[in-house]
């Protein structure tokens, strides 16, 4: 502000006026002043030192924070173009929607997220929870969040990772402790096995879905795509793209390119009936 006002002042006060009768004379030529140069070197140096020290303190507080005794540990693995979450503490894997408990200041339970990548560089950015940290293959990173208000927090991948970088969305659910415990318990169960959709379950194997996807408790142990064991416990499909409804699920399976052209899941060559059955099966996986 100071410099700008000085600039404006100089521009106005020292402009050449048309009616000036001494336009033939040049103004006094000032070559410089060592004292002034010193002054406007020293002051910025002091400002820089102050800013640097405060930044360094925050860096230290964030990056070198001591881990309290009770933490939630999740490993986030970035994929083109979805998020895998490994809750090794609790013994399950899920995808795309991260649930963590709210943290009460007196007994804080921050969540430490290990960050890895299965392919290219990604970045985990949920602005209202924390600054971003990159997920870089062969270079595990770590970040922590200490959310004190329950709710849903939105974000998305912040490092260009390929054609559908824009649609690699993040949804972080900060749950009250009781809700979080219940969610964990549900996720720990194997996939629901409902005899009325046995046809669909069979097609899941016959049509090769198991090659990429895991449904715990069945023969499907694929590691390439998201874990579907509890797909219906999630709100959205395709890494935060559309709500999970029967219609969206069906359209996605037939051709993910309808929602996310360039997604690594290929369109499926299925008849309408097969599509209905597989969708019906997936709809039971709460």
């Amino acid at each position: 502000m100071v410099v700008f006002s000085l600039l404006l002042y100089a521009a106005i006060k020292f402009r050449q006026r048309k009616h000036d009768d001494n336009n033939d004379f040049e103004p006094p030529q000032i070559y410089g002043s060592n004292q002034i140069e010193l002054a406007w070197t020293v002051v910025p140096v002091i400002i820089v030192l102050v800013l640097f020290v405060s930044a360094a303190q925050v860096i230290h507080r964030v990056q070198d924070a001591r881990r309290p005794k009770r933490t939630i540990e999740v490993t986030a693995v970035g994929h083109q173009y979805w998020w895998e979450y490994q809750y090794t503490q609790f013994g399950f894997v899920t995808s795309n929607e991260l649930h963590i408990p709210v943290s009460d200041p007196p007994n804080s339970t921050p969540t430490f997220i290990g960050l890895q990548s299965a392919d290219v560089d990604h970045s985990f950015w949920v602005p209202r929870l924390a600054g971003k940290t990159d997920l870089i293959p062969n270079h595990p990173n770590s970040m922590w969040i200490d959310p004190q208000n329950p709710g849903i927090y939105l974000g998305q991948c912040a490092q260009f990772c390929g054609v559908q970088h824009a649609k690699m969305l993040l949804r972080v659910y900060v749950d009250r402790q009781a809700d979080f415990d219940r969610w964990v318990h549900e996720q720990q169960q194997d996939g629901v096995s409902d005899p009325s959709v046995a046809d669909g379950a069979g097609l899941f194997t016959d049509k090769g879905c198991f090659v990429c996807h895991t449904i715990r408790g069945t023969a499907a142990q694929g590691q390439i795509g998201p874990d579907l064991t509890h797909i219906m416990s999630r709100d959205t499909l395709g890494a935060g793209l559309v709500p999970i409804t029967r219609e969206n699920l069906r359209r996605w399976i037939r051709d993910p390119g309808v929602f996310k052209p360039g997604s690594l899941m290929p369109a499926q060559d299925l008849t309408d009936q097969e599509l209905d059955k597989i969708t019906a099966y997936l709809l039971t996986l709460r």
């Binding site: 000032i30 410089g32 406007w40 640097f52 950015w125 602005p127 600054g131 912040a158 054609v163």
Partner: protein, 553 residues
């Protein structure tokens, strides 16, 4: 009969003229070709920007597919840095340095030509990618990995086909051209100054380009090395950056930014050079604090080699690593600030003439200041963790590249066009250009900071409704339209004034450096006799024999 000898040289066949220009080693013609080349790509780059802004003006728009969008931003960035900014700035440098130091040409004229044509070949190769593959309307197989092409996205596993190779090879070739130019700048400025022009008497423009030359040599080399390593990975079974085989993605990031940061100082120092020459002339005062300006320039050159990891704060370096780069990045703000204060002090107490070049310089001062402020904000790593890779960063660097560098380039055009062509650019059209561009620039880039603050990352081809980003993206588009109109006016001014502009004479601005002592345009040999100088402003000494500079320096 004397007129006949001149007439003889104008009656050449078009083919002969073309050959003359292609084969020239005259620094002025090479400079003009660099500038024309850069202007052509400025139009292309601006069109790409317009297309992207149209796509982003509304949420979930389907104007461009993600593939085309990703190619557009990659090409926009690569073109802008390597085939717009560098050619235009090097072009002005090539044109002006010999004239301002009283020399007949650059130290190595043929190397100069080599540098130009390598740059041209690089640009042509990059754009050849548009016409390969699926063809022009889908942007062919243009590279789509971002202008910094982070590995391992660029490895064959994730980038099949040849789109990445167009990027790698075109930059490799134009990099050799840049190195040639860097060598030429250094050799010319150190060895070819006219009698009496000690280093402490040469124009600040020469100092700036001297540091630029040094930076080019130090900074292009890591990029070239990285390009070779990437090619080895892609075609010769290497694994430098191939993380699936134990390679390192971080290695690429370090190599790229060790190049990338000094590169932006290569871009800004010539802009400083222009403003350091233009502001004194239109304030009617000598530059305040010449020695401090030189010291600041050299410091900026050195410190710029040690700040690169401020592009990497989110990559996961340890805390002391991050802190070190916070310190160096903030430190570079000190010499930069000193320069702003010195330009301001030059204006202070002067008699400011608001010609079009001066208007662009005043806007430069304000905008560069703001860009520096957002830069210092981003230098604070914790702040960067939120705002890095977001539209806040995009707004910041465009504020520097457009708001400072491009404005300084426009100032340079209006100031030196009369010397290059013998005709003045039209002042009225120039003022329209200036005001339209200022309005457009601020509409676009001021408001672009806001989506960044609201969480919008960069390089996304679309976004959902309801994030609060829509209105800002729309305003950005409106600003782009103003800028496009301004540029069209500018191009029209260039063409119109070339044929019908008012004759300029040798010294239309009543300036003080050596280029204004010779004809407009200068003859091929630049000066009838090589001048000898006694001070930093030889023409001031001639015009003010009662009060010459050498009495005070």
């Amino acid at each position: 009969m004397a007129s006949e000898s001149i007439a003889l040289s104008t009656h050449r066949s078009p083919l002969a003229t073309i050959y003359e220009w292609l084969a020239t080693v005259d620094h002025k013609r090479i400079g003009l070709m660099y500038i024309a080349y850069g202007l052509l790509f400025l139009a292309v780059m601006g069109t790409m920007a317009m297309l992207m802004r149209i796509q982003l003006a509304r949420p979930n728009a389907a104007f461009l597919s993600p593939e085309v969008f990703n190619r557009l931003f990659t090409m926009h960035g690569t073109t802008g840095v390597f085939f717009v900014a560098m050619p235009i700035l090097f072009g002005f440098g090539n044109y002006l340095i010999p004239l301002m130091i009283g020399s007949r040409d650059m130290a190595f004229p043929r190397l100069n030509s080599f540098g130009l044509w390598m740059t041209v070949v690089g640009g042509v190769l990059l754009y050849a990618s548009l016409f390969a593959g699926e063809g022009f309307w889908k942007a062919g197989t243009a590279p789509d990995v971002g202008w910094f092409a982070y590995a391992p996205l660029t490895e064959t596993a994730f980038s099949s086909g040849h789109s990445t190779d167009f990027w790698t090879l075109s930059l490799l070739l134009s990099g050799f051209g840049s190195i040639a130019t860097g060598i030429n700048f250094i050799a010319t400025i150190l060895c070819m100054r006219c009698p009496g022009m000690k280093l402490s008497r040469m124009p600040l423009l020469a100092w700036m380009f001297l540091v630029v030359g040094g930076l080019i040599l130090v900074t292009i080399s890591p990029l070239t090395a990285a390009q070779f390593m990437l090619m080895i990975d892609r075609y010769l079974g290497g694994h430098f950056f191939d993380t699936q085989a134990g390679g390192s993605a971080i290695l690429w990031i370090h190599f790229f930014w060790i190049f990338g940061h000094p590169e932006v100082y290569i871009l800004i120092l010539p802009a400083f050079a222009f403003t350091s020459e233009i502001i004194p002339v239109f304030s009617r005062k000598t530059i305040f604090g010449y020695a401090a300006m030189v010291a600041a320039t050299v410091s900026i050159g050195f410190i710029s080699l040690g700040v690169w990891a401020h592009h990497m704060f989110t990559v996961g370096m340890p805390s002391y690593g991050n802190a070190f780069f916070v310190f160096t990045t903030m430190a570079i703000a000190v010499p930069t600030g000193i320069k702003i204060f010195n330009w301001l002090a030059t204006m202070w107490g002067g008699k400011i003439r608001f010609t079009v070049p001066m208007l662009f310089c005043v806007a430069f001062l304000f905008q560069f200041l703001v860009a520096g402020l957002t830069g210092v904000m981003l230098a604070a790593a914790p702040f960067n963790w939120q705002l890095g890779s977001s539209y806040f960063v995009v707004a910041h660097f465009h504020y520097v590249i457009v708001g400072a560098i491009l404005f300084a380039i426009f100032a340079a055009f209006y100031y030196w066009f009369p010397k290059m062509t013998g005709r003045l650019l039209n002042e009225t059209l120039g003022k329209w250009h200036f005001w339209l561009f200022v309005i457009g620039f601020h509409l676009t880039f001021d408001f672009m900071h806001i989506p960044g603050l609201l969480g919008m990352p960069r390089r996304i081809y679309t976004y959902e409704a309801g994030r609060g980003w829509e209105i800002w993206n729309l305003i950005v588009l409106v600003g782009a339209v103003f800028q496009a109109a301004a540029i069209l006016l500018f191009v029209y001014n260039l063409i119109y004034s070339y044929f019908r502009g008012a004759p300029a004479g040798n010294d239309p601005w009543d300036a003080w450096t050596l280029e204004w002592s010779t004809n407009s345009p200068p003859p091929e040999y630049n000066f009838a006799t090589i001048p000898a100088v006694r001070s930093r402003r030889p023409l001031w000494d001639i015009k003010h024999p009662e009060d010459p500079d050498w009495k005070y320096e």
